[in-house]
């Protein structure tokens, strides 16, 4: 991702966001106790500095809170469908799988969004990412026609695009 417009405002937002994430992580890891706060403060300061240090700095990505709010229930519902689908096929008298492979060209532009997309494909019903290079994801499907698999993947891609503020990307 070329750093075309990293303004001071974006930087400040990023700093606050990371601070909030680290604070909640510490609170969770410490199971809500407050007596070790000074130790937590040192660790959080170190982690914050480290997260901006060159070897760990990642390409900035844009994401949307409303996109996330819409994504989470969709993801949970689809996960349950995915698990149920596997259970049905596993417990069936004869194993009912008709696997196929296909390559899906994604419209997502940000590298982080593409990696996220490839990972979520594996957690959703009937699909498994087997490779990701440039803008192409190779998908192994457990069953279903190619058109069905493509339609499901396209729906997921649209959700991921919403999550990463790339509404124009998914067609």
């Amino acid at each position: 991702m070329p750093a075309n417009s990293i303004s001071t405002q974006t930087r400040a937002r990023e700093l606050l966001l990371r601070l909030a994430v680290l604070l909640s992580l510490w609170w969770v890891l410490d199971e809500g106790r407050a007596d070790g706060w000074w130790f937590g403060a040192i660790i959080i300061a170190c982690a914050l500095a480290l997260s901006f240090a060159a070897p760990f700095a990642r390409a900035p990505f844009r994401w949307s809170i409303t996109g996330a709010a819409r994504f989470i229930p969709y993801f949970l519902y689809e996960s349950i469908r995915g698990g149920w689908d596997v259970a049905r096929r596993a417990f069936g008298g004869a194993i009912r799988v008709e696997p196929s492979m296909l390559t899906y060209a994604t419209h997502l532009r940000q590298p982080t969004a593409r990696v996220f997309f490839a990972h979520v494909i594996s957690l959703l019903p009937g699909t498994l990412s087997t490779d990701l290079r440039e803008g192409e994801v190779t998908i192994h499907a457990l069953a279903g026609t190619e058109a069905e698999v493509r339609a499901g993947t396209r729906a997921l891609e649209a959700r991921v695009a919403q999550l990463f503020h790339e509404e124009g990307a998914a067609s």
Binding site: S79, G83, A87, R89, A90, S122, L123, D131, T138
Partner: protein
């Protein structure tokens, strides 16, 4: 038994069901790729349900948050591992099983 205990029992049973389904699928599915399907989907869901039951029983938001964090890390590692295993298999020319 309180309502929370009852809900926890239901969630635990659901989690155990999906873990069992993942294991049965892992044993019965025909090849590496289909077995990865069973592991990634059913096991994540299994932990999701059991984790939800444990979070309810803990009675603490911080502990519930910790369990949620473990679940998120588990999903990331499960899908990353399955992607790497599948990619390794494909690049070593392991052909996916097809229905005869």
């Amino acid at each position: 038994m309180s309502a929370i205990d009852a809900i926890s029992v239901v969630l635990m049973l659901a989690g155990a069901f999906f873990f069992l389904a993942g294991t049965v699928g892992f044993l019965r599915f025909p090849d590496l790729f289909t077995r990865l399907h069973a592991l990634t989907k059913a096991d994540n869901l299994g932990f999701g349900f059991i984790g939800a039951a444990l979070a309810l029983q803990s009675g603490s938001w911080a502990v519930a948050g910790k369990i949620l964090l473990i679940w998120l890390l588990l999903m990331v590692s499960a899908s990353a591992c399955s992607l790497l295993v599948a990619r390794g298999a494909l690049r070593n020319r392991i052909e996916p099983w097809r229905k005869p």
